[in-house]
Amino acid sequence: MIKESPLAKSFHGGLKLNGHKLESTGGTLRSAPVPARLVLPLNQHAGRAAVPLVSAGDRVLGYQEIARPDGEISCALHAPTSATVLGVQRLPMPHPSGLMGDCLVLEPDGKNEFGNFLPAIDPDSLDLPTLLKRVSDAGIAGLGGAAFPTATKLAVAAATTGITLVINGAECEPYITCDDMLMREQSDQILLGAKIILDTLGAQRALVAIERDKLKALESMSAAIERLGDPRFQLEKIFTIYPAGGERQLIQVLSGKEVPAGKLPIDIGYLCQNVATLVAIYRAVKDGQPLVSRITTVTGSGIAEPGNYLAMLGTPLETLAESAGGYTPGATRLIMGGPMMGIALPSDEVPVVKATNCVLVLQEDEVRASGDQMPCIRCGECEQICPAQLQPQELYWHIRGNDLAGADELNLSACIECGCCDFVCPSHIPLSQYYRFAKSQVRLLDARRVQSDIARQRFEDRKERLDAEAARRKERLEEKRKKRASRENTPKAIKGEIDAILARTRGKVADSDEGGETR
């Protein structure tokens, strides 16, 4: 059933941006070639890094698990194709810090042999524990960009009944079109993946959210919904506004309800899944295929042939750029992600990871120099545009004055780092950078406080123990003194005591002789 989403249900602020979508949606989905080296960072998801299961010299088949999850919030890694393991190396990570991280490096052997490690399961006869185990075994993380382990997210959602599944095909950030292409070419698989979740989690309905200017995707998805004939599915055409694709904003658009700050969408009965994640789930169940590749948009004026590429995880970005025709002259900035929320990378030697939804290359004249800041004129534009209804100006002043506690009180943690305030600031102040800085500082300081609380507890426990020992010693000494004071001081009594002690000692020696234990 196709329903128009009323404009009235919307979120505060937001921007209408120039989409730059047509650059990369011209052709069809292409496959990137298998590179000479596959570099798989052990930590490419939210949570703890995966633990390697293979070592240098091993030969692995495609789909073989090469690293297992560590703890509750973690993800497995699989070999994208048959290869020889070169080992774990410290290599540059696609991370804003530019730090190195442990990566499993594989050398594909060119034979492209795949193993059958996860048996196919009939999607119609799937129960919840089996689904969760399969999603976890397949190493699936949210492919919308946040890379949160999907098994954990589904497990939390399963605890609530009567939920609504939101299928996020909004893709509101400019330049990114990977979800659009997926919806055009693999619409059935998206819905079948969603159906698996509906059936196993007992969800009431699924809302397919697509921006209204994605005409081909809308056509494709509505036809797929017709074919499926499942009355639980509902297509929602939403207004094209950034950041409508953000989980919280999307739920607000579709339902009019706001997810409370500090809580998750599941707390008000909504589960949001990206379309690519749903396809991954479907493939993991139906074909036993783990997550080893993803669609990445390679675009921007710095790329010769922009388009969407199905790339293996671990493909170096320079290989990907080459298959997209290489860089144009004047290409200066390499960004992983979109122009609003993406991170600038120092080099193209970093690999494609689960979170790489887009590789954006910009030219000199499109990039603003970072030193161009001017003083804040308190115009209030940032407050009007903030989708989370925060006060960016107040946050800015507090963070600038090192008052992180004050910023925290103003709900800094509710900031989704969308970059809208950055965009509209007439003084070109890098506002979202301030918030990213403050949020990470607050997190670090909280961790420090927890540590110091533990240390204080240990210190006080130790003090107690030492005091108790001292008190006991004192008691014993008091007792001995009392005994000595109360006994008779005649030579006979003293001799009696000495005899008793000697007898006791002799007895001990006799025992130890018999026991054969020497000291």
Binding site: H95, G101, S440, L444, Q451, S452, A455, F459
Partner: protein, 185 residues
């Protein structure tokens, strides 16, 4: 005469009332010291010139010590204390030490003689071992206070900088100097 009597009796009356109130509204302990102590890093290192974090907290509340004497706490602690007590946040007093990266103690097991002197010195019981048994530091509980270095007779303890990986990385603060008193040019 009447004036003197009046004033004296007024003063007496008020004095009695206040004395009674003082008894009635007495409080036990000092919750402010607890609040200050909660903000200190609990390394119990003594660099502040007091015998531990709690004595330092008590000194701060009594106004015997300034809030900028704690090197392990560094700037965040000074700021938190300034916020709590409405005092001015000053830079760390160089006489008490300087801000250093976080360290943990590591015992060289080949050299350790099992004397337990370091175990007795550790304020948070982060060293495990017994007499003539191998001693080892529980890295997670070690606060880097340096108190175990002195007692060790064979000098087998090293302070190693904690490797900060991605988990401890944080975004850098954007440069604000560009906007200070700059006219739009």
């Amino acid at each position: 005469m009447v004036a003197v009597l009046l004033l004296t009796s007024l003063a007496l009356a008020f004095g009695l009332a206040l004395g009674f109130a003082a008894q009635r509204f007495r409080i036990e302990g000092d919750p402010v010291v607890d609040q200050v102590d909660a903000l200190l890093p609990q390394t119990q290192c003594g660099q502040c010139s007091f015998a531990g974090c709690r004595p330092y907290a008590e000194a701060i509340v009594d106004n015997r010590a300034d809030i900028n004497q704690c090197p392990p706490g560094g700037e965040p602690t000074i700021r938190a204390l300034a916020d709590l007590l409405s005092r001015e946040a000053k830079p760390l007093n160089p006489e008490n030490g300087e801000e250093k990266p976080a360290t943990v103690a590591v015992i060289d097991e080949d050299t350790c003689i099992g004397c337990t002197l370091c175990i007795q010195a550790c304020p948070v019981d982060a060293i495990v071992g017994g007499p003539k048994q191998m001693h080892t530091v529980i890295a997670r509980e070690c606060t880097g206070c340096d108190l175990c270095l002195e007692p060790c007779p064979v000098d087998c303890i090293d302070m190693v900088v904690v490797k900060t990986g991605l988990a401890a990385w944080s975004w850098p603060k954007p440069d604000t100097t560009a906007t200070n008193n700059k006219s739009a040019a």
